[in-house]
Amino acid sequence: MRQQEFIGLQNYREVLADKFFWTSFTNTIVYTLVTVPLQMILGLFVAILVNGIKKFQVTFRVLNYLPVITSWVIASLIFRYVFNTEGLLNYFLSQVLHVTASNIRWLDSRWSGLTVAMILGIWKGIGWNMVIFLAALQQVPIDLYEAAAIDGCNGIQKFFKITLPGIKGTILFVWVMLTIGGFNVFTSIKMITGGNPAHQTDTILTWMYYKAFSTGKFGYSAAVSFIMAFTLGIMAIFQFKAMRNRDRELEEIG
């Protein structure tokens, strides 16, 4: 091994002055801000629907879970194939629906490339959200709903006054787990856009990976790694705090 020299915070300075790092940072934040709430809302919506039916509950649960157990590599390859310039989606849009004049190069620009990765993330995540929310919905005491019905609450009021408070703990748990997952998006970006064009679609992890394994800048990447771990840690502390406050409130009430 080569002689290693202690260089203090040099790597951190380099990372924080690097516009590519900030592009990847922004992309990761956007990815997380878009995919986390949409997965949760759609997952909760499907869970409520499944909870409201009697027949075929298991069938719907299993089929909705299929994307979750599909591996990231396989799912990314399917999406790449569908969104390719000569792929099925472009053919469908231009030749069948006639809404686009020519084939769109989905994977060749920053926001459309990221959008494809985000659609994949949402598609793949709904099933997990559904299973967890479904379990939580089944724990909300049924007599609360009956009491609310007697008091003349409609469905929307019941949702906001009983369902949401009743599954608050689960919502926070899911929120923490999905935020961690969002920050760790890697395989889909690597396989769908590969960070192209010119690192415009890189996320923190793909950028870090590129710097370490393609340019050999391990110190730089280790600094990125630490910055990201630090950010995740701070966020999780806030999220867990929110969770604990909620528990304390419940204890005071109950």
Binding site: V46, L49, G52, I53, F56, F60, R61, V62, L63, N64, L66, P67, I69, T70, S71, W72, V73, I74, A75, L77, I78, Y81, V82, E86, G87, L88, Y91, Q95, W123, I126, G127, V131, I132, A135, Q139, A149, G169, T170, L172, F173, V176, I180, F183, N184, F186, T187, M191, L205, M208, Y209, A212, F218, S221, A222, S225, A229, L232, G233, A236, F240
Partner: protein
Amino acid sequence: MKEKKSVIFFRYALLTIGVILSCLPMIYMISTSLRPNGALYEYPPRFFPQLQDVTVENYQYIISQNKFYINFFNSVIVSVSTVALAAIISSGLAFVIARFQFPGRKVLFGFIIVTMIIPGTTLIVPQFELAVKLKVVNKLWGLIPFYTAWVIPFSTFMIKGFMENIPDEIIEAATIDGADIFTVFFRIAIPLSTPAIASVSIFNFLTAWEEYPWANTVINDNAIRTLPIAIAGFFGQHQFTQWGYVFAMSALSLIPVILVFILFQKYFVTGLTAGSVKG
């Protein structure tokens, strides 16, 4: 409460649309794997192949290759070892944290939570340097300790939730009857936490079976590749990607996962519930 027929119908209709959307990409994968491998992108692209074109030649090609069995077997070794090791270590850890008071208990649990918040992929670069130092780069078994370390925090967290709920009376009764701590662990704690252990084991199996970034980083030799890197390799290997082969191999690699999932479906939901809903 009586509900209107139209409301119920509406629910089924929405759910059916949702299921179609979630299955569409998979169906397209299967349908692509069933057509001739010739063209890079067929034109016009079809969702379903024309009936006279349907062929299993892609599957025949994949299963005629020795490589496929090697990749498959490698994935089995790594996944099964990860599941077994993680189950043993996490249930032990969970038992100690859930049932005993000792100095450092909070710190230990704090470490577990922190490692859960910062998953393995975040630390891939320092981990690589560690793997180089430990001389486990480019070794199949070298994947196992890393995967195990990745999944232990979440597994411990989930199993701990279950073990905390074991009534004290059962354990006291056993202790009075002369059971030592190992008997309590193996005869009471483990059997009563089976749903949690089973559910995290499915989860761990999936994680190890599909893991790509780390395996792709530390494994070079063809002979020790796991399935995900083999599939991804197909994609980048040639000037043009042979999508028929890619998707045939993908479909085959999904079979064990779907089998495991369907067989343990029952455990999956109960176990997941126990840890998260308490949250």
